[in-house]
């Protein structure tokens, strides 16, 4: 278990990067402008790439450098570019349909984080890893999950739903780098490509939504009920 016997420098670097990406998730949660989501998402992906590289360096997993490169390129550049293209084509600059104010959403996000900290601490304790970076990794992983779901719930714009889904994935990827750095690379790469296909599919669907429904707000999707 890598997290159990790390030297303090590595442990602090990992913690810092994990916390920075959590903060970036909060930035996305608190912002009303789609462009800001996108920048925060790209930055978060770069932080995760840096994390992969540093785990590779301190843990002695050279293949993680490749994963870091791919993460930086695909998640940090290519995915944001794809989403940016969708935003540009749709010409929507900000989230118009907010039904919970960003400030209240931030409070909800904080509550989620506290909850996940409790869960992570308990699991960490039973594994004998209570005072290691593993607890933090698990917390960040789970709370980014909850924050992603929060975004999916309180935002109605199709694009912020896509970004919400991407945060869900980012959280898992981040946690996986610290907790299971030895995970076979095949899986990581396939999941990365899978993500690209998902976003491409979303792009096509969003265009159909505009043509056939006339809106990209999920508030308008209420024909099918019961």
């Amino acid at each position: 278990m890598l997290a159990a016997n790390l030297d303090p420098v590595a442990s602090s670097i990992f913690s810092m990067l994990a916390i920075v990406s959590l903060v970036l998730a909060f930035v996305m949660l608190g912002s009303r402008w789609l462009n800001n989501y996108l920048y925060a998402f790209a930055a978060e992906s770069w932080v995760i790439a840096a994390l992969s590289a540093s785990v590779g360096y301190y843990g002695g997993y050279p293949e993680l450098y490749l994963v870091a490169g791919l993460t930086g390129f695909f998640r940090g550049l290519f995915l944001p570019y794809l989403v940016w293209r969708i935003i540009y084509r749709l010409d929507v600059a900000r989230e118009i349909h907010v039904f919970v104010q960003p400030s209240s959403t931030l409070v909800l996000g904080a509550l989620c984080t506290v909850f996940t900290l409790t869960v992570a601490y308990r699991v960490g304790e039973s594994l004998g890893l209570a005072n290691t970076v593993a607890v933090l990794a698990l917390t960040v992983m789970l709370s980014m999950k909850l924050i992603g779901f929060l975004m999916l719930t309180v935002r109605h714009e199709a694009l912020s739903q896509i970004l919400g889904l991407l945060i869900l994935e980012n959280g898992i990827f981040l946690g996986a780098q610290i907790l299971v750095p030895g995970m076979p690379m095949l899986i990581e790469i396939v999941i990365l490509f899978d993500l690209l296909i998902i976003v491409a599919c979303f792009g096509v669907l969003v265009r159909y939504l505009v043509t056939h429904v006339g809106s990209t707000s999920s508030l308008k999707l209420r024909r099918l009920v019961g």
Partner: protein, 488 residues
């Protein structure tokens, strides 16, 4: 031999899809799809028999052919074949010849991803296969390109992707739990996880299992994660609804079965089974409530799928020989029956030009043959004898009372009665109520043989499996259950 069959099974839909994309002639696409489906069934049936001598591993262990997987594969291949035959008739009625190649290419891709998911030996690759089924089928759900179907497609991809990402989190946590036993790098095969399970940390396994259950449960359509299901099933073309319901849901249930096995070995089986039973009962409850008050014909079938996935979940949760065998047998019966029901619903929709139950009337008199088959299917799907579902539900109920799940089995019994009354009441209205005014019929007054034949092909074995549970199938399923570790 079995490796050859497996590669033919996988390459048939792949080649057919490539043909559809390159040739694009509607009749060629139909033929290619039919042939691929025929080959699929022709390979899946012997594979299910051969798997008894297995499990077999191919491709350096990434592909597994085991009894449970090949059973689900067989169910999917049957639905694929039936839906392919029905597609010819249904899509001609729809009259979209210019887009037909895209439909068939996606259809074959959908079948391919479902087939692949049943034979994945690696938990991560299984997750990817399930994710791919979503991506391919989204475009099939939205195939008709009207506002309703786009809405259904959007809800489908968002809800299921979010759900399946929970399953990914669970998968990563399972890998983490295994890494304490097997070291930081290992192949995450089902058997590796199961062998390591007794030494895994139980709290972590509980957390991981619950995440996986909720994640794949979304795809299975267990309530309360089922919300995508009625929309997607009702808006997709009828053959796709049959595929979603009869093939895809089983493919995702397979993942839950495999992870439950790991949870059992890790010693947290009783909690896992109770949670699964809770989801099962809740699915039945939601199914019952929405079936009673349903107004849409295909939504009625969709909620019936939620109900039957609940029944299968209960069978798996009860465990033991009876529970698991009942659940596996129920998968086959449900696949046949739900195909029959969706074909009938597709015919009714086309003939009456409506999705609303209240506008369909005197169906049996107007269309005696397909009407009779559909009505027989409706009796069967509510679990009445002499059809296959009666037997499998009965076995699952017995398992419940035997394995001290009396609360769940009692609730299941009660809800099945409610569903029986509610479901058949809608059919009473569609068959025997005489509204004074005849609605205009849209899609012609006669059904082609392509639309009726698959109904016969589904109804006949359903009746047969109800009056006679072949000893070979029973023994096969018992052996599969023993291998799963569901019983001593």
């Amino acid at each position: 031999m079995e490796a050859g069959l497996l590669s033919i099974l996988i390459s048939a839909p792949l080649i057919a899809a490539i043909l559809c994309i390159t040739i694009r002639s509607p009749r060629v696409c139909e033929a290619a799809n039919l042939i691929a489906a025929g080959i699929g069934f022709g390979c899946a049936a012997p594979l299910a028999v051969i798997s008894r001598n297995g499990p077999f591993f191919y491709w350096s262990g990434y592909v597994i052919l085991d009894m449970t997987g090949s059973w689900v594969l067989l169910c999917s291949a049957i639905v694929y074949l039936l839906a392919s035959i029905y597609s010819v008739g249904y899509m001609r009625m729809l009259g979209r010849d210019e887009k037909l190649w895209g439909y068939y290419a996606l259809f074959e891709g959908f079948a391919l991803t479902i087939f692949v998911s049943t034979i994945m030996n690696n938990a991560g690759l299984y997750w990817i296969a399930i994710e791919l089924t979503t991506l391919v089928s989204t475009f099939l759900v939205g195939f008709e390109r009207v506002a309703e179907s786009m809405e259904a497609a959007w809800k489908y991809i968002i809800i299921v992707s979010a759900g399946i990402s929970i399953a990914l989190l669970g998968t990563v946590l399972f890998y983490w739990a295994g890494s304490f036993v097997l070291g930081p790098s290992y192949d995450m095969t089902w058997s590796a996880l199961r062998d390591a399970a007794p030494r895994m940390n139980q709290e972590l396994v509980i957390l991981a299992f619950l995440l996986v259950l909720v994640g794949y449960g979304t795809k299975v359509g267990l309530a309360p994660m089922h919300t995508w299901l009625p929309d997607a099933h009702s808006e997709a073309p009828a053959p796709i609804s049959a595929m979603l319901s009869g093939a895809l849901l089983n493919g995702a249930m397979l993942g839950i079965v495999r992870y439950l096995e790991i949870a059992d070995t890790a010693g947290v089986g009783s909690l896992a089974r109770n949670v699964l039973a809770g989801f099962g009962v809740f699915s039945l409850l939601v199914g019952a409530l929405f079936i009673v008050r349903q107004t849409g014909i295909k939504r009625l079938m969709a909620y019936s799928s939620v109900e039957h996935m609940g029944v299968i979940a209960l069978g798996v949760a009860f465990g033991g020989i009876l529970g698991t065998v009942g659940a596996l047998y129920h998968m086959l019966n449900h696949s046949l029956n739900k195909s029959l029901m969706f074909f009938g619903a597709g015919n009714a929709m086309r003939l009456y030009g409506t999705k609303r139950i209240s506008r369909i009337h005197t169906f049996g008199e107007t269309f005696p043959v397909s009407g009779a088959l559909w009505l027989a299917g409706a009796v069967a799907i509510t679990g009445a004898p002499p059809f296959g579902l009666f037997l499998s539900e009965f076995v699952i109920l017995r398992a419940g009372f035997q394995q001290s799940f009396a609360w769940a089995a009692g609730a299941m019994l009660l809800l099945l009665i409610v569903i029986f009354v509610g479901f058949l009441n809608h059919f009473r209205a569609m068959y025997y109520e005489r509204t004074p005014r005849h609605e205009a019929t849209d899609g012609g007054t006669a059904l082609s043989a392509w639309c009726v034949t698959p109904m016969w092909l589904a109804a006949a074995p359903l009746l047969l499996l109800g009056v006679w549970w072949p000893a070979e199938i029973w023994e096969h399923l018992v052996a599969a259950t023993r291998l799963l570790g569901g019983a001593p």
